[in-house]
């Protein structure tokens, strides 16, 4: 880590150059255009909102980079930080609709439960985009390993989309995706399309059958591997199975529970991948998004503006300190 690195931390496109948006507290109106139910198990309710900003100078200037997040405000319920899970792509013309984007949300708290009750046409407030992004420029010409755990797939999906749209610019690309059970694999219907686009997709589950669902009538039909995502990564140590694994030219993008990212980063280092080529998306209870409220501090970092995407050479020492 050096000063060049630290400056690259804050080197993200800034949509807040317009003075009207320099007070970050002002929300901007967005309308729900579509709602997709992603997961509907008794223990996991996940949905994707397609939002379109109301026409304004802010909407015109709005652009996000994969890895960044928005604050979503539902008056009366509150505000919550949700990462971008993709631009909205017109399915016939295959073009990106401006001012329109996707947020995949798990209904788990007061605000997200209220968001789940919204319908198409409802309005909510948006502030953002905030935070650092995945190092998209640095991925070009490199092999890419995307490691995701659970809902951590959501912030990585824009990366998959970006790679998909210009597949030839990247070397070998693999997604290693761990989930609690087969029923909780997010974006399961898209995985085949990603494979066809030349992205290696390997999934692994903690349990062939969701242990949180009592007396599930379903018999396990999962034939894939059982374990955690580190196992999929560690397989790369076998030259026999992975003769074209080149750690020195591999970039690793990690998103999932902190413990999973920590273990995967350690495994990636053992495989010979440099710390500066490993990236983590860290999570805390962000409230302001701009370093005012202090909640998301992690050592010297405000994870809302110096993160959520943090390079491992910076995160390594911080991850070692308990309760930091």
């Amino acid at each position: 880590m050096n000063s060049e690195r630290s400056s690259s931390l804050v080197d993200v496109p800034n949509p807040h150059s317009d003075p009207i948006d320099r007070d970050p507290w002002h929300p901007h109106s967005a309308t729900i255009r579509r709602i997709d139910r992603e997961l509907d198990t008794p223990t996991s309710s996940v949905f994707t909102l397609e939002l379109r900003l109301e026409p304004s100078p802010y909407a015109d200037a709005y652009c996000f980079s994969p890895g960044q997040f928005n604050m979503l405000l539902l008056p009366g319920s509150g505000e919550v930080a949700i990462s971008h899970s993709g631009p909205s792509i017109d399915r016939t013309s295959r073009t990106v609709s401006p001012g329109t984007f996707l947020h995949t949300i798990r209904a788990i708290g007061r605000v997200t439960n209220a968001l789940e009750k919204l319908r198409v046409g409802d309005e909510l407030g948006v502030r953002g985009p905030y935070g650092t992004s995945w190092p998209m420029q640095q991925l070009i010409g490199q092999d890419v390993l995307l490691l995701s755990g659970g809902l951590g797939m959501a912030p990585l999906r824009p990366v998959v989309y970006a790679i998909e749209s210009r597949r030839d610019d990247f070397g070998r690309v693999d997604l290693l995706y761990g989930s609690r059970s087969p029923e909780t694999i997010l974006y399961a219907s898209e995985l085949d399309a990603w494979k066809r686009a030349g992205i290696g997709v390997e999934t692994i589950v903690d349990h062939a059958q969701d242990p949180l669902v009592e007396n599930s009538p379903c018999k396990p039909t999962w034939t894939g591997p059982v374990g955690n995502v580190t196992h999929l990564l560690n397989r790369r140590s076998s030259l026999l199975d992975y003769p074209d694994f080149h750690p020195e030219r591999t970039q690793v993008l990690l998103c999932g529970p902190e413990i999973m990212m920590h273990r995967c980063a350690q495994s990636a280092r053992k495989l010979g991948i440099p710390a500066s080529s490993i990236w983590l998306s860290m999570e805390r209870n962000m409230q302001c998004g701009v370093g005012y409220c202090g909640h998301c501090q992690w050592g010297p970092l405000f994870l809302c503006k110096d993160g959520p995407v943090v390079p491992y050479d910076l995160a390594e020492t911080l991850l070692e300190i308990k309760d930091l």
């Binding site: 400056s7 007070d23 202090g294 050592g299």
Partner: protein
């Protein structure tokens, strides 16, 4: 003296601070009664004048209209966990209006109020929400807060408090993001600083390089970021002096402008040129305050050249020091230190709606890293022990603040020592943390430079 102008010029006209003009800052001498004229002029100019007052056995800032409300003849005795209001026994000190030290209040109370309402829609629920443009929201929001409408003048701010304002400016007014409510209050603030003429046992501003001497016009305050930030200095500075045995002068104030608008007001007050004796008395008073300050923040351990080391690096290398547990065994995690700290800025936002959920506001209130649920991930607290929360507070204040804002987060005011119910003294805790221990020193990440 200068005759008052027939028509008082506007003291709020933008650009007044930066106008080229005759040099200001020449010290003048005024009688105590002229402070009343000063308050009157500010009130005519629509300022809400805040100053030290007596309330519940402490000296706190509140709105005043008369110098009779100042705590004349009062002082205080402070020590870890002790704040005792006292009456100054004998003349001439008992004539003084500012012969006391810092109370629990700081300018943070007014620039960054404990409770405020954030901009945004005030109707609840989907569809009904009315997300107006930023500008149209401004007027409706300000109705909730007089501070956003009426400019403030604070009389009595000390050197360390000016430094604290400069630090909060960096937190809330550093581009690209400007907290518009803070900026509005901050930019209309008229500062009448008061030179400390005494010191509490808890003061250690000297070792934090923030006092006790007020910066002069020739000694500008800390450099501030961005074209939109006001340089923090004062508009007017007062030094209260009382005669000693053989003095030729009587009780009065040296007054000096630090801004053009300050000079405009000063020119309206009857004043005299200070005698050499008065200027010498000021010098001696400040020297006496220096001598009175006994506490000091330790610097990092000496390096090979015998120079003091960097406290940031020293603390970050000792995150596993056993003394953190020693502090934790005494600390009540009550958050008093963060409430009285003039630079602590952590806050939370609550959505507050009426019973029918038809209207709602976003209310920001001070929060503290000492609250267990302050930081969490996936519903679980990040810092579940007092040890980790005290460590977060202290290392943020004295170490990682440098990474974030290029300065220390501590101005040496000593409030956290006085108002800690169990008398934890951060200067002593730092000294203990710098002592050798069995815990190996950690690798310290190089300092980040965000700004």
């Amino acid at each position: 003296m200068t005759a008052p102008p027939s028509k008082p010029p506007s003291i709020d006209s933008p650009g007044m601070l930066h106008d080229a003009g005759p040099p200001y800052g020449t010290p003048r001498w005024i009688a105590p009664s002229q402070l009343q004229s000063l308050i009157d002029i500010l009130r005519i100019e629509n300022y809400r004048v805040l100053a030290p007052t007596l309330d519940q056995h402490a000296i706190v800032y509140d709105e005043i209209t008369s110098i009779g409300q100042l705590p004349k003849g009062y002082s205080d005795s402070q020590a870890p966990a002790v704040y005792q209001l006292t009456q100054t026994p004998s003349a001439p000190e008992n004539q003084k209006l500012f012969h006391f030290n810092l109370g629990p209040h700081s300018p943070k109370q007014f620039l960054f109020p404990p409770n405020s309402i954030l901009p945004g829609p005030q109707k609840a629920g989907p569809q009904k929400a009315d997300f107006n443009d930023a500008d149209s929201n401004q007027s409706s929001d300000s109705s909730h807060e007089p501070q956003l409408v009426q400019p403030m003048a604070i009389l009595g701010l000390r050197a360390c408090e000016l430094a604290a304002i400069a630090i909060q400016d960096r937190v809330l007014m550093s581009p690209p993001f400007i907290d518009s409510q803070y900026a509005l209050r901050r930019k209309s603030l008229f500062v009448i600083a008061v030179q400390c003429t005494t010191a509490a046992s808890t003061c250690f501003c000297h070792s934090m390089n923030t006092g006790p001497e007020l910066p002069g016009p020739e000694l500008p305050g800390p450099e501030l970021p961005g074209p939109d930030a006001n340089p923090i200095t004062y508009d007017l500075a007062l030094t209260e002096l009382v005669p000693s045995n053989h003095s030729q002068f009587t009780h009065g104030f040296l007054i000096q402008a630090g801004s053009r608008r300050g000079q405009v007001i000063l020119d309206q007050l009857p004043s005299e040129e200070p005698t050499p004796e008065i200027l010498e008395a000021k010098k001696q008073t400040i020297e006496a305050v220096h001598k009175k300050i006994q506490r000091a923040m330790p610097s990092g351990p000496s390096n090979i050249d015998g120079q003091p080391g960097d406290l940031r690096d020293a603390l970050l290398a000792r995150l596993n020091h056993p003394h953190w547990q020693n502090v934790a065994d005494r600390c009540l995690s009550c958050a008093n230190c963060t409430m009285v700290c003039p630079t602590c800025f952590c806050s939370s936002v609550d959505e507050v709606s009426d019973l029918l959920n038809e209207s709602s506001i976003r209310q920001r209130h001070w929060d503290s890293c000492f609250n267990p649920d302050f930081s969490h991930t996936s519903g679980a607290p990040v810092r579940n022990t007092v040890r980790s929360r005290y460590r977060q507070w202290l290392t943020h204040k004295l170490a990682t603040w440098f990474d974030q804002f290029d300065s220390s987060g501590c101005v040496g005011c000593g409030r956290c020592i006085t108002w800690c119910p169990v008398g934890i003294d951060l200067t002593q805790e730092v000294a203990k943390l710098l002592e050798p221990s069995d815990a190996p020193l950690l690798n310290v990440p190089p300092r980040l430079h965000h700004r």
